[in-house]
């Protein structure tokens, strides 16, 4: 795989002085300020400033942790007064959760910084701690050395499989960015997502908040969304893009529609959405004009009429009958069926909905893939999964289960140093400037930094995906689709 020529990997470090430390180095008061540790640790954890009578407190995040024990420079062993000790940092426990573990977040940060999967051995970043779904699936790699050269492996997928004379869009990596609307994320976030999509020859999505003018330079790589509120939907925006997405529901809050608080409906947001400033905006659920597949088809026909080249994607969540909905979308003429699982991200959703409503994406992929196959429609549809795809391994597993590709959102935000604190919608919004339109907070980072971080993270994922394909001896990611035989499940598969 050769990434698109626009992809340039450049180191893009954290924008903060300190990173979140996994380890903690403690110096007790038996320290005599001899400076041995400062001399021995090559990572700069210990700093002794000439003229000061005490060594500076350790810079924990730079420490590589317990694996250092085997090094001859291991400071804990070197200290003549046994003043140093090494432990897990209690702070690390406050980072992450069952789905996105602290290791996974840290690793994503490293990918966004370096463009490659972490070299550190102490991070378990390919699986989370949720105890189900992707976290219980493993690849069954065949033994032996890989025979295929990485450069020969393609990660491209086509998005139009209908053969209907419309554009045959090919993306270079089987992932694109999820919808985050203007108003829910900061401008640099939105623009960097679009720039990254252009660089990687893939897509990003406007979300349901209308089509900001700043995105026009990236039209070629933007999916515009038609959601139930129809905010800011215009013929001209539909004519501008190559893919139009109907959003029926969102995995994190299926069946609940959307709600933009009055205070977030600022002048610019209101203009974009063609609404009155300061009023709360509701996206109803469902489309009040869609009660049947026939109605659904009428909407798709309408888009196709307005833009004779555009592909149509249908985004739905994952109820019990998601398979029927998918087949219905096929009959209605959609090109892409995008299923969004219950554990997916959101700018704001009731906790009760995130946890309890609709099924996790893992089950839905298999259900939809199989049903489309039974109905003879699988070959004509592109199946995109989202809602809980956190890592390159999740992506590859989703493809093995039957998806063609995936949409990601949280992983993009984490690349921009989201800590998943969940405060995106409260008060001034995201304290870290990612999901906020507050003038001060949204100026915390610039577009350049953010774009490079995304380009790097997409690259690291691609590297991992190519590695997986290489181990399976595959020349294209398309060969991986539906290959559940390459997976095992630690609860069911017999130990090998």
């Amino acid at each position: 795989m050769k990434p698109p020529s626009a992809v340039k990997i450049k180191k893009m470090p954290s924008r903060f002085k300190h990173q979140v430390a996994k380890y903690k180095v403690t110096r007790s008061n038996t320290c005599i300020n001899c400076g041995t540790c400062a001399k021995s640790c090559p990572y700069g954890v210990h700093e002794r400033v000439e003229g000061h009578n005490r060594v500076r407190p350790p810079i924990n995040y730079k420490c590589i942790g317990f694996e250092c024990q085997n090094n001859d420079f291991y400071c804990v062993a070197k200290c003549p007064r046994k003043a140093l000790s090494l432990s897990l940092n209690p702070m690390y426990e406050t980072l992450g959760d069952y789905r996105w573990t602290a290791d996974m977040i840290t690793a994503t940060w490293i990918m966004a910084e370096t463009g490659y999967p972490p070299e550190r051995k102490d991070l378990e970043y390919n699986i989370g701690n949720s105890g189900g779904g992707f976290d219980k699936l493993r690849f069954k790699f065949p033994p032996g050395r890989p025979k295929i050269d990485k450069l020969e492996i393609s990660t491209e997928i086509t998005l139009n499989r209908r053969n209907d004379g419309r554009a045959n869009i090919v993306i270079s990596t089987p992932v694109y960015g999820g919808g985050m609307s203007f108003g829910s994320v900061s401008l640099p976030t939105m623009l960097s997502k679009a720039r990254n999509a252009t660089i990687w020859n893939t897509f990003t999505c406007t979300g349901e908040g209308g089509y900001p003018e700043m995105l026009q330079p990236y039209d070629h790589n933007v999916i515009t969304q038609v959601a139930t509120g129809l905010f800011g939907v215009r013929e001209e925006t539909i004519q501008r893009v190559r893919i139009v997405e109907f959003k029926y529901a969102q995995g994190a809050k299926p069946g609940l529609g959307g709600h933009l608080l009055g205070e977030k409906n600022t002048e610019s947001v209101a203009r974009m959405r063609e609404a009155v400033q300061g009023t709360s905006l509701f996206s109803p659920f469902p489309f009040h004009s869609v009660y049947s597949i026939e109605d659904h088809k009428k909407h798709i026909d309408w888009i196709k009429e307005i833009n004779p080249q555009a592909l149509v994607s249908v985004k739905v969540s994952t109820p019990n009958d998601v398979d029927m909905v998918a087949v219905g979308s096929y009959y209605a003429g959609a090109h892409i069926i995008h299923i969004d699982g219950g554990y997916g991200g959101t700018g704001a959703a009731p906790d009760i909905a995130k946890k309890n409503i609709a099924m996790p994406i893992e089950y839905a992929i298999i259900k939809v893939h199989n049903f489309l196959k039974e109905e003879g429609a699988r070959e004509a549809m592109t199946l995109i999964a989202s809602g809980g795809i956190r890592t390159a391994h999740d992506l590859a597993k989703a493809i093995c289960l039957g998806a063609d590709g995936a949409v990601i959102g949280t992983a993009e935000l984490v690349s921009l140093e989201c800590v998943r604190c969940g405060n995106c919608e409260s008060g001034r919004g995201c304290a870290r400037g990612i999901a906020s339109t507050d003038s001060e907070l949204s100026a915390l980072f610039g577009e350049e930094w953010a774009t490079q971080r995304l380009v790097n993270m997409y690259h690291a994922w691609n590297v991992q995906l190519v590695e997986i394909l290489q181990k399976f001896g595959m020349r294209s990611v398309r060969e991986l689709v539906g290959r559940t035989d390459l997976l095992e499940h630690i609860d069911y598969s017999a130990p090998r």
Partner: protein, 469 residues
Amino acid sequence: MPKKYHINSKVTPLNLDYVFKFNIERGENCINCGKCTKVCIYEAHKRRKDDPRKMADPNTVVCRNCFRCIQECPRGALEKSLDKDFLNIGGSYWKSDIFITLWKQAEDGKVPVTGAGYRGPFTGSGFDGMWTDMSEIVRPTRDGIHGREYINTSVELGRKLNHLTFDEKGKLLSKVHDTVDIPIPIIFDLPPDNLSPNVKAALVKAAVELNTCIVLPAGDIASDRKKYIKNIIPLISHKEIDKHQGLIKNTRIVAIEYADELLSNFPAAKDKIKKISNALTIIRIPATKSVETIVSKLTQNGAEIIHIVADYRGREVNGSTDYNRRLLKDIIRAVHLKLIDDRIRDEVTIIASGGIAMAEHVPKAMICGADLTAVDLPLLIALGARLYEEPEKLLIIPEGLEKIPVRTLTQRIINLMGAWHSQLLEVMGAMGIREARRLRGESGRAIFFEEIDNDTFGKLFKKRETVNV
């Protein structure tokens, strides 16, 4: 259309000592530069009032875990950890986070809303092992959430007829039984008896204002409570019906403790009650191993409402400590299916309780087959109570609670129920169900972990093994 049921929530803080999640400490190497004050948008870091050159201790209660102060302090002087009290509170069933969310709901009466996706385990035991379904495109409208269309959460208590009979002239022959309607599928269950009078009063007042009922021991119903008797369900032994005639006369529902003799002589007990008043009778029965058989027998014997009580962690009660005891989810499903098999499901109302800890447990219990639920501990947690599971169940009522005005306490309970009611609407709205009564036993509209996991991964991976062999 019935009048729309509305719960009036009002922000009601209670200045008690709450457990918080994140503990921030400022190390000695702080140089008082004030950077943390600038970066914390939740104002956890302030200077000392008496000496503004120095930083005050961090106000960790407001910390929202954004990591900015940690990452931006020039000296790396700040440390954050999970608070010890937070880690200790509750236990394996009553998770620490439950307390924080219940306190918050009791304070503001709102549906908890956060950003970012779900953070918890993929699945869990009991109610955590099921998801509720939703309707996608091709079903009728269901916008109940924002007041567009009314979702009715009321349920009926009492026996329903299997069918009606008419004479040749078309006159109704069947006697239609009395029922009691309550506007939410939740009643309040038996508070512990060591509560201070203001707390007890608040529980009763809240039940009255919400127009639901509260189960109280008959002996504990002070005469000044009698004006609320329509919302009180006195709990008596079946042997004491005569003794409590006065109460029974005025109440709408009585509860009697289950005893084995009731299997045969329940009709006699019920007749005795009916002679005194029209009150409906609940039989309160512990969720033992054979509870479904007993429930079925009682129903065949004329029981109209049966209240199944699991332990405080929603487990079967059988005197043993083993962890294989059934959980409320499975107990209710077993009872519901048994009654369906015996073709008597509609003849009895099933109330489920024990371990109802979060709003989602209400619709889930109903989907499993309960008609409604009874809550107990969350009502006290709303008032700041803490619960510890280990080494044994311990409920701690906050100090000073006895001095808080009844109105404040009542409002907090109402707030919590308001938040639960709104969350029930969210779940029902997503399912496209407009009548709470229709949730009962709708297990086809839920996704059960064991079933779906086995149907997808189980089949997929086991099948292959057998093919290989």
